[in-house]
């Protein structure tokens, strides 16, 4: 049903389910999850890539057809994010980068201002920049201006599995921003992924829920199906939800009654 492939920076993705690679108990679970979820884009923290140790190198467990999105985990400001992105490129990890600037180790909330700065610098250097952000319309507009390839708002705190706590703000970004909106962080269940897709998100990025599941590959597949279902629902034009029941005998119906003789 992939009637609407997703295009980011000229690259087309048939799957709208992106996967993070942290917290898996072993590399096999990771590669099985990528396969079962049919993910075509995965994000890896440069800090976790051990280029010297072949068998432990996470990159060895990611199939060649999958787009590698290196993230700048550990960066506390724009300058550090820029350095990590450049180092990733120099290490052969390509030029797709997820900007992750976090200066709060308790809540792990992204610093929007620094994210904008890093996006501007790296986009100008030719990186394909997918910035992770706290959903905010002004920030999103600034990211568009700075050259971002997508905007990736968080659904709720990273790793929290709490779903779309920021739903209203994400909806504003979907309505107003012309770039693909990828919901990143906080999605803990396939139903939540479907919800984001029904709202019109371009894709979702999931990590903790899959990595810490009893059967990661099984859950990855469930997420992929939910993402497809949500997308199809969005494309099919979901009937609007109503808070109250619709009265079957409206109060103003008389205005349209044919007058009796």
């Amino acid at each position: 049903m992939n009637s609407s492939p997703l295009t980011i920076a000229g690259k087309t993705f048939t799957s709208r389910f992106f996967l993070g690679t942290g917290k898996f108990k072993n590399k096999k679970d990771l590669s099985d999850s990528i396969a079962a979820g049919k993910s075509e884009l995965v994000t890896v923290a440069l800090r976790r890539i051990d280029l010297e140790r072949h068998e432990e190198n996470i990159l060895e467990h990611i199939p060649a057809h999958v787009t590698l999105l290196t993230n700048t985990s550990g960066a506390r400001n724009a300058q550090e994010a820029v350095r990590i992105a450049r180092l990733a490129k120099a290490s052969g990890c390509g030029n797709w980068v997820k900007i992750e600037v976090i200066n709060d180790s308790k809540y792990l909330l992204p610093d929007n201002q620094e994210t904008i700065k890093a996006t501007e610098i790296l986009a100008a250097e030719g990186f394909v920049v997918l910035p992770y952000m706290t959903p905010d319309l002004y920030t999103a507009r600034a990211l568009v201006k700075a050259g971002a390839a997508t905007v990736m708002p968080l659904g709720s705190l990273i790793g929290s599995n709490q779903g779309l706590k920021t739903r209203e703000f994400i909806q504003i970004l979907i309505n107003e921003i012309d770039l693909p909106i990828v919901v990143d962080a906080g999605i803990g269940a396939p139903s939540q992924a479907a919800e984001a897709m029904e709202m019109g998100a371009a894709a979702v990025l999931v990590n903790t829920a899959v990595a810490t599941a009893e059967d990661p590959a099984g859950l990855a597949r469930a997420f992929a199906l939910a993402v497809e279902a949500g997308r199809l629902a969005y494309l099919s034009g979901l009937p609007q939800q109503h808070a109250l029941a619709k009265a079957s005998s409206p109060l103003t119906g008389f205005l349209y009654d044919t007058p009796a003789n």
């Binding site: 108990k25 051990d50 180790s105 599995n161």
Partner: protein, 338 residues
Amino acid sequence: MTLQQIKNILNDRRPESVEALAQDAAKLTRQQFGRAIGLYGPLYLSNFCSSHCTYCGFNSHHKIQRMKLAPEQYIKEMQYLHAQGIRNILMLTGESYKHTPVSYLKEAAQRASEYFQGISLEVHPMETAEYKELFAAGVDGVTVYQETYDRTRYAQVHLSGFKKDYDFRYATPFRAAEAGIRQISLGVLLGLSDVAHDVFALYQHVRELEKSFPGVEYSVSFPRLRTVKTEALAVCDVDDLRFVKIIALTRLLFPRVGINLSTRESPQLRDHLLEIGITRMSAGSNTSVGGYTLLAENKQDPQFDIKDERSVDEVVKLLKSKNFDPVFTDWRHIENSL
């Protein structure tokens, strides 16, 4: 959580209470950290010390063989650890400005960055400007234990030397954070004083730091006071049940804070604690200066006696057999500047 609440929890010895705490802590640890366990290798650079701390094997009154590694010597030790797979290194010294000044530590850090991606120091407390120099030289982490937060007891066990200054030590992690250090590790030496008080005060220390420097990654350690050359030193016993409770409680109150486990604990206990809340451990540890490549085993005077002597390979095998992912690389060295 109040001091009284911590006391109540630690004094409650019912099996169901410790089990419930452990279950909750385990769940939270998996959610926050998955099954990844960070590994690091300790490298003792020097055991010269100007402080007299009654519980420490390196203290200035012990007649042990004093040694400070020259660059060609520590490079040999670094190469050994690197060959074992270690990518995060913790370099340690005794507390001696004179023998291991900033210039010495800076050079060691610069040399270490040729072999390791993450470099931490556990050395004498320094001034902010000195931490800035070390940060620029590639140091990302600083470990400094207050040992005990009981001032009276602190004075009793830190008899002389630089370490006597409680307040300067307490403010050390703040200075390190100010200088840009990314990872800061705090700890108490369980057994030195009343354990509930020490744990409560450690939590307050972490909270204060989090408020001032939210961007730092914090971790805590709970070494238990052990024998050094079989001499018994603990005044307050922390048995395994209380120890497990402290680990679990720390996780529940600080979901994102790392918890380190040292080789002071037995392999059996270490293996169980991994499930409950531990996120980092040392591997292939040797607590003597030159202990990896330079000294014969019978010539070594360790800082404390270790109970877990498994090699790096053995630790990795164990972690994998228990479905943990051993993480050697958790940082990629970048140019450090503020």
